[in-house]
């Protein structure tokens, strides 16, 4: 039995079909029938991602080894087919149920390395996954309502939201149902398939708390109530990365009825005008910077006017307004005897909800990792204490919402039994780190190794730290791309390297004064790069100075601003020096890696994927249909083969029309008529005839011979569509040059 057979109708039909297609694309790639670049973007949009060593090179401490994977195929540009990779799993707004936690546990065990990793976008990641296993992973997830679609690639990534939305004491209203509805509205939407780069959206319920970090997103939605109506203050053009941008206000108030169409119009403008060739400048922040907000607003407003009306824009609103979570127990008070260490945990990991008698509990996961067994045990605790109201957080933890305060000691004991009872959530102990050199192709230094080391050291002295220091946040990334969100930490680090003599030394750039609060209200400033081994001393030096010279209740940001950049740099200047190798060889190794530091296996990142146009996707789909036609022909089902071959030509023709008319319908008559009108001059006439003939004369009965001929013709038609697409591109380029 296979998982496809076992799960049957538990996998929603549409999703099941998509996964079948993806599985077929893997087969086609193995047969060399899909272009590598196209397949790379295809798998990325399904969340299947390369890892550090899958350029078939691994620096082993002495030399770069050329890894000899069993096949010579690749699964995308410079990515070895056989190398185990990463699977990202999208969790809109971080909402996850006990049943989903159990399935995630099973797949982490069976296909990965027994670890579920929570990411800084409320996703999960599995590592060391073989690509042949990914369709079954997707089916098992789909059966419990999870999709991996558009987890990576040039698409709308996981939509994040404040993890305490709905229970927060200061929010305007619960953003959960709006975040969820928008996530599914945009998933696979035709207007989000032709971006030059990814697009990240976040929701937040209140302006002054950290919540959804709307200022650092491509689009941020901040809940507002105006004259009794719900709506959002919309932000655009924020982002971290090498050069961080603060989002700008796009509109002070967009009523909920307009949230979807305005977002859709933005997506169209971004797809049309966003950079496609130079991916370093392809995020929407660069487009906003180039156009200016007023011009972008004008373009979006124009696009909004011509959008075809979609009932989904408003059909969810009544349900959203009535949305409410159900607790498993009545609210209560904290009474009775309490376990040892409970107080510390209560102070840092428990948030009193606005609903009396209930609390939200943060479950700290070291470096965002939990085992499969812990995930099942967490599911059991969730059922018992919070009725399944679980969310992941962008600080790589879980929260249990709607826990009766009476149950807090018992929940603590339950977490203690499974090793997830650590205190310090939201404090200096709660370090955030991206994967860095552990698994990321772009990583320069070991951000996880550093986080592990800092965590151990800080945990040892947590109770002796000044309260102001306990409340600081430390975040680190393995390179300047900021996946660890180092810009919005009080103390941030990103990996780089310096050459000393003939050797490379792992370093971290130090950034001070970023702001997590106020929705990522401001970004930290770099003050200098220190060798990785000196980072713990840097943390000590800076925090000690803060405690010593702090004025009244001055925040860390105000303190850093007051002492200034020059003084901040002076604080760490001596720690920027690297001793000679002979004196201190440990400086030439990274945290957690006893080998001498080198950058011999750094590769190209897959974060953005290659830019593949919507037409290329359409033509890829046409080729797949034609391949399915061949399979049907082989199975003796000639009528089906004929239908599929015809469908493949329609798909290719529609792809071309779509280049000029975004809302082209799917009915064959319109597609053929539009294709004829628009492409008569560009498309090779003999090949176009294949489509016209089959469209006008459907065979009463298909024979093996007729079906075979149509399959051949369809293949030629698709080739013609590729050529026509190239001509279109040349025309566009020439027009741009003029």
């Amino acid at each position: 039995m296979t998982w496809k057979e076992k799960l049957g109708t538990q996998v929603p039909a549409e999703l099941g079909k998509e996964i079948d297609i993806y599985e077929m694309q893997i087969e086609l790639r193995k047969l060399g029938k899909i272009d590598e670049k196209l397949f790379a973007e295809t798998r990325l949009r399904r969340g299947a991602y390369g890892q550090r060593y899958d350029n078939a090179q691994r620096f082993d401490g002495f030399q770069t080894q050329h890894l000899k994977y069993p096949t010579s195929l690749t699964k995308g540009p410079d990515t070895a087919w056989d190398a185990p990779g990463m699977q990202r799993i999208k969790i809109p707004f971080g909402g996850v149920t006990p049943e989903q936690l159990e399935v995630l546990a099973d797949i982490a065990e069976e296909y990965a390395d027994n670890i579920l990793h929570v990411t800084t976008r409320q996703d999960f990641q599995l590592h060391f996954v073989h690509i042949e296993d990914t369709p079954d992973i997707m089916r098992r997830l789909a059966a419990v309502g999870i999709t991996t679609r558009e987890s990576c690639g040039n698409s709308v990534r996981n939509i994040t939201a404040c993890p305490i939305a709905g229970v927060c004491r200061t929010e305007a209203f619960d953003v959960t149902p709006y975040a969820k509805a928008l996530a599914y509205f945009l998933l696979g939407h035709p207007d989000t398939q032709d971006f030059g780069r990814k697009f990240k959206i976040a929701f937040s319920g209140c302006e002054c708390e950290a919540c959804g970090l709307v200022y650092m997103h491509d689009m941020g939605a901040l809940a507002q109530v105006k004259d009794g109506r719900r709506g959002f203050k919309l932000f655009v053009g924020g982002g971290l990365g090498a050069v961080p941008y603060q989002a700008k206000v796009f509109a002070d108030f967009v009523p909920v009825e307009e949230l979807f169409p305005v977002t859709q119009a933005m997506a169209r403008v971004f797809a049309r005008l966003g950079e496609k060739q130079n991916r370093a400048r392809a995020r929407i922040k660069f487009l906003i910077d180039k156009l200016g907000v007023p011009e972008f607003q004008r373009l979006v407003a124009e696009e909004r006017k011509i959008l075809p009306v979609d009932s989904r824009w408003t059909s969810y609103l009544a349900e959203a307004a009535a949305f409410q979570e159900t607790p498993v127990k009545p609210g209560g008070q904290l009474t009775g005897s309490q376990p040892s260490d409970f107080e510390a945990w209560l102070e840092t990991n428990v948030y009193r909800q606005r609903q009396a008698g209930y609390a939200t509990v943060t479950i700290s996961c070291p470096l965002g990792d939990i085992t499969a067994t812990q995930s099942r045990q967490l599911a059991d605790l969730a059922r018992k204490f919070c009725g399944g109201n679980v969310r992941t957080t962008v600080e790589q933890n879980f929260v249990f919402r709607w826990v009766s305060e009476t149950d807090l000691p018992e929940l603590y004991r339950g977490l203690q039994a499974i090793g997830l009872h650590e205190y310090g959530a939201g404090t200096i102990l709660d370090l955030t780190a991206c994967p860095g050199t552990d698994t990321c192709k772009l990583g320069i230094a070991a951000s996880r190794g550093l986080a592990r080391e800092l965590r151990t050291r800080l945990a040892g002295k947590f109770f002796t730290l000044d309260a102001a220091v306990k409340g600081l946040r430390i975040k680190m990334s393995g390179c300047f791309n900021s996946c660890g969100q180092h810009h919005i930490a009080d103390i941030g680090f990103y990996g780089n390297s310096r050459t000393i003599g003939n050797r490379k030394v792992p370093h971290f750039q130090v950034l001070l004064g970023g702001q997590w609060h106020n929705n990522a209200g401001s970004y930290g400033l770099a003050i200098g790069s220190v060798p990785a081994k000196n980072v713990p001393a840097v943390v000590d030096r800076i925090t000690e100075r803060f405690v010593r010279d702090r004025q009244g209740n001055e925040t860390f940001q105000t303190f850093i601003a007051r002492i200034g950049k020059a003084e901040s740099r002076k604080l760490i200047e001596d720690l920027m020096n690297v001793p000679a190798y002979e004196q201190a060889p440990e400086f030439y190794r990274d945290w957690g890696d006893p080998r001498e530091f080198a950058m011999g296996d750094i590769g190209m990142g897959e974060c953005a994927g290659a830019v593949v146009s919507a037409l290329q996707f359409e033509l890829g789909a046409a080729e797949r249909l034609n391949f399915e036609a061949q399979l049907a022909h082989e199975a003796g089902d000639f009528a089906k083969a004929d239908e599929l071959a015809y469908g493949s030509m329609l798909q290719a023709a529609r792809g071309l029309v779509h280049e000029q008319w975004l809302d082209v319908p799917t009915d064959p008559a319109t597609v053929v008529a539009e294709f004829k009108t628009r492409f008569a001059a560009l498309f090779q006439p003999a090949l176009a005839t294949y489509l016209f003939r089959r469209h006008e004369n459907a065979p009463g009965t298909s024979t093996g011979e007729s079906a075979h001929r149509l399959i051949e013709e369809a293949q030629l038609f698709i080739e013609g569509a590729h050529t026509c697409g190239d001509k279109l591109l040349q025309q566009k380029t020439a027009a741009l040059k003029k």
Binding site: M1, T2, W3, K6, Q51, R52, Y53, R58, D60, G61, F62, Q65, L67, K68, Y69, P70, D82, A83, P84, E102, A105, D106, E109, E110, D113, N114, I115, H127, F128, H130, P366, L367, D369, I370, T371, T373, Q374, R376, I418, G419, L420, D438, T439, R448, G449, R452, R455, G592, D593, P594, R595
Partner: protein
């Protein structure tokens, strides 16, 4: 159903001899020398911060190996097709390397085999008995955990 998806757990009997992180350079050395025949050794991953987790993981194209807790063990999990006999041989080869090079000792009287595929359940005990020539007992516990058998047989 993929019958190659077995895991083998050998318990380490002289556990306190090394910290988990001391196995990182050991596994790096294996990659440098490609020391495990029939395996393309690729990467080492440190999960020592996860309570009762995989500990230190050595990733090969053919299998994942890890030395983890709570009861310090070497675990070999097959990822690519192989017979159970071949899987046992590979796991034993890894254990022997650890013994020869690092002085790691293993409990010799019994070990565990688990099925890393929830589609498989029927006939597994017989298959294991045949491949190991040992006494095979089903280990009961949380029904959601993988099907696990204790095999009384010398390593």
């Amino acid at each position: 159903m993929e019958l190659h998806k077995f895991g083998i757990r050998f318990r380490i009997s002289n556990a306190p001899a090394k910290t988990l992180q001391e196995f990182i350079p050991v596994f790096h050395g294996w990659i440098q020398r490609q020391a495990l025949p029939g395996h393309l050794l690729v990467d080492v991953h440190d999960y020592s911060h996860v309570p009762n987790g995989p500990g230190i993981l050595l990733v090969a194209h053919e299998a994942n190996l890890n030395i983890g807790e709570p009861e310090r063990s070497l675990v070999y999990i097959r990822k690519q097709p192989a017979t159970l006999t071949e899987t046992l041989q590979a796991a034993r080869a890894a254990a022997k390397l650890l013994t020869d090079e690092q002085g790691v000792k293993f409990a010799t009287e019994q070990f565990e085999i688990f099925v890393n595929d929830r589609l498989v359940s029927d006939g597994v005990a017989g298959l294991i008995a045949e491949a190991t020539a040992g006494q095979v007992t089903h280990q009961s516990g949380d029904a959601r955990e993988r099907l696990t058998f204790v095999v009384k047989s010398p390593l």
